[in-house]
């Protein structure tokens, strides 16, 4: 069995884990980053895409608001490439408590969240589809963030500094030597092979799965209560600004424009299993109703797909008093040396995407303490690969690049404007036979036709490029169709059902995929 030796092993390739890897690599530490699946396939990749201004927490959780606005300003510089400066509105709809607006403004002022009340007419001019019955509108610096792009930039940045990034490698055992965690055994889900990692410090950055990893390390009392929320992507940008309900945080209170779609979210239902992605019909219905309150006519737009994500809500069962049980959305850094007398092991969980950099900074500070050497964090000033110019993403970017080559570059996915050369380059770079991995990087098949046209093309290209067998290619296609369907059918109505029926005709009627021999 192969053995890797490293300073830091990071278990969990979400934004937090990738952020830890980037931070540690910048501090000159040797890093191995692993995930049981693809990077950002868990909670990070399953949210609405909001980079918080802090406005959402200005009243309820001032500390979170302060963290958010500080991180928002930092990430706009260092992770600009994945961020679109959409701006945000907090709007008081007829269903919201009108008294909240003043508390909101005061909360923003107290926490330093930039907030300006604007005239309704100005807001409606900027966002013509906004409910005209809103009574007050505040402008805040919300933004949208492409998590897959950002997490891969973190991983690439770390790799450029020597880090080894191993997606599809699950930790199957945590090695202990007395009071010290010394690394982990990994199993490659693609290769089936196992390997050992010997690490100075092991970071448990597995979020909603943190208790599983902690238990493997023999640590007790780490409890994560996964909170499941649903999100629905609509097929175009009904709004170009993040629009929030101006009220205490609740279900269905935000629409985030991201890339070519907009996403409404979310709900919060406790679940015992972080891998439970059940979509409940009543939640879908409630979400569509909520959309209607912000953007009248919302139900007439096409819903592309629905997904669920689990927030890791941390509860420390070792906390002193059961009356003040610390269930919080704030992040939790557990230094197991202090907490449990176990060296070489740190757990980071809870928190929110917007504050991933801060979480990583605190985590690597703890890692450095374990290693006995202080090294300064530079992630607040060092730009990620692709963000060196500090230029934020703008929606027309792909079209602008594509426009000069309209007649000489074959487009494989028209909805998301993915050219063939880009697809082939990504397939080679990722060395994967899973089109979902490609989808997360290129948004292949994520537009209105949900892969109807591009997936046969992409399968054919992948088959030719990698010399796949017929079995592998067919399996790739079927797996993508099944994965896609999972998010499609619970929100299938209206014109999107027409689209799905056209796709049925293509895949079943014309291609006959259900009768493939392999």
């Amino acid at each position: 069995m192969a053995t890797l030796t490293t300073d830091v092993l990071v278990i969990g390739g979400g934004a937090t884990g990738a952020g830890v890897a980037w931070d540690a690599a910048l501090r000159g530490l040797d890093v191995v980053l692993v995930d049981r699946g693809d990077l950002a396939e868990g909670t990070s990749g399953r949210f609405h895409g909001l980079l918080h201004s802090g406005g959402r927490y200005a009243v309820k959780d001032p500390r979170a608001a302060e963290e958010c606005i500080a991180e928002n300003r930092i990430l706009r510089r260092v992770a600009a490439d994945g961020i679109e400066d959409t701006g945000g509105f907090f709007v008081t709809t007829p269903w919201d408590d009108p008294a909240y607006a003043d508390r909101f403004a005061a909360g923003c002022a107290a926490t330093g969240v930039d907030c300006e009340e604007i005239d309704r007419a100005v807001a409606l001019k900027e966002e013509p589809r906004l409910n005209p019955d809103v009574s007050r509108v505040f402008r805040v610096p919300d933004a949208s963030i492409d998590v897959w792009k950002t997490v891969w930039a973190l991983a690439r940045g770390a790799q450029q500094r020597g880090a080894r990034v191993l997606p599809y490698h699950a930790a199957v055992a945590i090695h202990r030597d007395g009071d010290r965690v010394t690394g982990a055994r990994l199993r490659g889900s693609r290769s089936g092979e196992e390997l050992d990692v010997e690490a100075g410090v092991t970071v448990n950055a597995s979020g909603a799965w943190a208790h599983f990893i902690a238990e493997m390390a023999g640590i007790e009392g780490v409890r994560v209560l996964p909170g499941r929320g649903i999100m629905i992507a609509m097929n175009h940008r009904l709004v170009n600004t993040c629009v929030n309900r101006c009220q205490m945080p609740t279900d269905g209170d935000i629409i985030v424009p991201i890339r070519t779609v907009c996403v409404i979210g979310t709900t919060d239902v406790h679940t015992d299993d972080p891998d439970d992605h059940t979509v409940i019909q009543s939640e879908v219905d409630a979400m569509l109703d909520d959309g209607e309150k912000l953007v009248p006519g919302f139900r007439q737009a096409r819903a592309l797909r629905v997904w669920t994500g689990v927030r890791p809500l941390f509860e420390d069962a070792k906390a002193d008093s059961t009356e003040t049980r610390d269930v919080t959305r704030a992040h939790a850094l557990l230094d197991h040396e202090q907490r449990d007398g176990v060296q070489g092991f740190v757990t980071i969980t809870g928190g929110k995407l917007t504050t991933f950099r801060l979480m990583a900074e605190e985590t690597v500070d703890a890692v450095c303490r374990h290693l006995g050497e202080q090294r300064a964090c530079t992630t607040s000033t060092e730009p990620l690969p692709g963000s060196e110019e500090h230029a934020t993403y703008h929606l027309g970017e792909r079209l602008e690049r594509k426009e000069q080559h309209l007649s000489d570059h074959q487009l494989i996915c028209e909805c998301e404007m993915v050219p063939r050369w880009k697809l082939e380059q990504t397939m080679r770079r990722r060395a994967t036979t899973n089109l979902d991995d490609i989808r997360r990087l290129l948004r292949l098949g994520m537009g209105p036709c949900q892969g109807g046209f591009c997936i046969y093309r992409a399968t054919g290209i992948l088959h030719g490029l990698d010399g796949l067998t017929a079995e592998q290619a067919d399996e790739t296609l079927r797996r993508f169709l099944q994965e896609r369907w999972k998010g499609v059918w619970p929100v299938l109505y209206g014109d999107q059902l027409r689209q799905a029926r056209l796709d049925d005709w293509i895949f079943q009627g014309v291609l006959g995929v259900e009768h493939l021999p392999a």
Binding site: G464, Y493, L511
Partner: protein
């Protein structure tokens, strides 16, 4: 009424079912108008006439299987139609192809035996009548190996994947990639078909391809062998290459489907029928048990089409004629007719496994045993608007469309005749 036109029959929908109904009515002397929002499924489907392909195992003889299939599926359109009208409509169709606008182009086959044709991904599709341009692809025909030919220039066809799957199914196949110069990188099947219509271009193509072929191979190309003269293109290629050549249907737009549309449109027009595309039916005038007129809004004005008979052949969910709204209610949007086959509100509309049969699949306009819309005495339903079939899985779409379009025409003619007779 201003802008009101009177016909003997108005057909709604210009897919296979609507065009067949319209043509057969017109041929019998009826003044008929076919109204449609746009072209129908012909431009998406492979252009073959599938009668019954899977039940659910692959069917070798659709004619032989039809009776048993209908008996086992009493709510299926075939149960109401019966084998005779299927056979009759296929014969009618073959004659219209022979007399059609594409010189020499014909369909081959019968109800006796399904062809087994390769798809663009290399699966096998059973089909009763197929264009002559596809016949040599039949997996059951000949011992010559298959050479699947494509081009990197055509993103909608992937010969290596097709050949790999065919080989896996026991059909000796290999793939060849040939360079084709295109004007646009996103050229589709129709663009290529226009090139194949050009004899000079074709000559050069054949010369380059011939160098890559081996003895005892037939050649499978994407379905692009000419939009105007497929018969001539096929004959020319077979002569130049000295072997059998066939088309493999691929992603829309479907060139063979467009030919099918042209054949049916021509049949309608030659019989004196009228086709109005871009004429979505946006309203109707109905008394208790009859539809009196339908209204279209096109070119900035409303036009009313009054007739004693209407044939609803506007399709199902795919065309938008039937809708499931965001409150999970279903509607027939053309005439507001009741539907059948809609799962109960407490039942799942769809199931989690994509390739399983979806509960919503069999929804259609509620009809009586004569395929008359329930509660309306002068509306007949045809094609994908009918309930009870999952045509893309069964491989039954064109069989149902031809037979139900013919059936609707016959019923209208019989009833109209009876009425005229009674009046006389």
């Amino acid at each position: 009424m201003r802008g009101e036109l009177h016909y003997d029959a108005v057909v709604i929908g210009a897919g296979t079912a609507g065009l067949v109904a319209g043509a057969r009515l017109a041929e019998a002397g009826a003044r008929v108008c076919v109204l449609a929002k746009g072209v129908g499924s012909t431009h998406l489907a492979p252009g073959t006439i599938d009668v019954l392909g899977h039940a659910p195992e692959r069917v070798s003889s659709p004619g032989g299987a039809l009776e048993e299939f209908a008996a086992a599926h009493p709510d299926h359109p075939y149960a109401a139609l019966g084998a005779e009208i299927v056979n009759d409509s296929l014969q009618w169709f073959l004659e219209r192809v022979a007399d059609g606008p594409l010189a020499g182009y014909r369909y081959v086959g019968s109800l006796e035996r399904n062809h087994v044709l390769p798809t663009a991904i290399g699966a096998l599709r059973p089909s009763a009548l197929v264009p002559e341009t596809m016949a040599a692809g039949d997996a059951q025909s000949g011992s010559d190996r298959v050479c699947v030919v494509g081009s990197r220039s055509l993103r909608d066809f992937h010969p290596a994947l097709c050949a790999a799957n065919l080989s896996h199914a026991g059909i000796a196949a290999r793939a060849v990639d040939i360079e084709i110069e295109v004007d646009r990188a996103d050229e589709n099947a129709l663009g290529l078909a226009r090139r194949f219509d050009d004899p000079d271009w074709r000559k050069g193509f054949a010369a380059r391809l011939a160098l890559k072929l081996q003895a005892d191979e037939r050649v499978g190309l994407p379905a692009v062998l000419g939009a105007r003269d497929p018969h001539g293109v096929l004959a020319d290629l077979e002569r130049r290459l000295g072997r059998r050549v066939f088309e493999i249907p691929t992603l829309p737009p479907s060139v063979p489907g467009m030919r099918l549309f042209e054949i049916l449109r021509s049949a309608l027009r030659r019989a004196g029928g009228r086709l109005v595309l871009g004429a979505e039916v946006v309203g109707h005038d109905r008394s208790s048990s009859r539809v009196n007129a339908v209204a279209t809004h096109a070119g900035g004005r409303d036009v009313h089409y009054a007739a004693p008979w209407f044939v609803l052949a506007a399709g199902g969910f795919a065309s938008g004629a039937i809708e499931l709204d965001s409150s999970w209610a279903t509607h027939e949007r053309v005439l507001g007719l009741p539907l059948r086959g809609v799962p109960d509100q407490t039942e799942p509309r769809f199931v989690a496994e994509y390739l399983a049969e979806q509960p919503m699949s069999r929804v259609g306009v509620a009809v009586d045993a004569e395929l008359r819309a329930e509660g309306v005495e002068n509306v007949l339903v045809a094609g994908a608007a009918l309930p009870g079939a999952v045509s893309w899985r069964e491989g039954s779409g064109e069989g149902i469309a031809l037979a139900s379009g013919s059936h609707a025409a016959k019923l209208v003619l019989a009833q109209a005749g009876a009425r005229t007779g009674a009046a006389a």
